[in-house]
Amino acid sequence: MYDNKIELTDIDKVMLTGVGSAYIDKPVYGLPTEKAEEFLADGLGARFESKLQQMIVVSMGTGTSLVQCKGDDIRHIGGIGVGGGTLNGLSRLLLNTDDIKQISSLATQGDISHINLLIGDISARPLPGLPMNATASLFANAQGNASREDIALGLICLVLQSIGSATILSALNTDIKDFVLIGNLTLLPQCEYLFPMMEKLYDVRFIIPKYSEFCTAIGAALQGIDHPKGK
């Protein structure tokens, strides 16, 4: 607040969310402080940033949670235990580092065909709805002497493609085609081409809004301003 020239008297309310907020049970700086419901915050923040009314919000943090939004009907529909934590853990085992900048930098030099089994590896021609460069099996092509660059790219693809696939499956039997990606993993540069590949394959839209990593905090603040009902 000091750095940003914000006075305590400028602040109306402080809204806390996230797993760590459970440990904070006193007013922050003596200001009115309340808890905000996390999944509602995901939905409100993604809606605020994307301007969409109907979407599935994909919160890619340590794990991944899915929140369906239809207007003011915002509800947690599930999630998968694959996320940034998975990338960190597997990178510690296979690359001896969990420095995400180093991992994503290594991955820019990787070749995914050295790690994943592609449709082109098992079929002489494209299968219905599956082009030759679509993934048949993650890590199925990995050899014992794989380079660190290839492993790094393989791990990032493993995490992002698993999340993308789970997300698309979560919208089956609905008319939702828009998926708003939020959370730390949206900062991975590999998102810029991996999600568009899935968009083309499955005829959906993945949107990474401007303040993607801050959407949950934005949604928490919004709960301090107005209170749409979540379910």
Binding site: N4, I11, K13, M15, G20, L31, A220, L222, G224
Partner: protein, 53 residues
């Protein structure tokens, strides 16, 4: 108009934003490792101050 602050306290990172006049202001990210670094950098001063007291 006053600011509503939202704080997302995560496992590895805490994010703080303000909302004022319907706009996002001053988004800020703090990693757990930043706090550890801050503590490490200042712990010597803290110890010195404590000793001098």
């Amino acid at each position: 108009m006053k600011i509503a602050i939202g704080i997302d306290v995560g496992i590895s990172t805490t994010k703080i934003v303000g909302i004022q006049d319907g706009k996002v202001v001053k988004p800020l990210r703090i990693k757990a490792t930043d706090l550890l670094l801050l503590y490490t950098e200042h712990s010597e001063n803290i110890c010195t101050t404590t000793k001098s007291n």
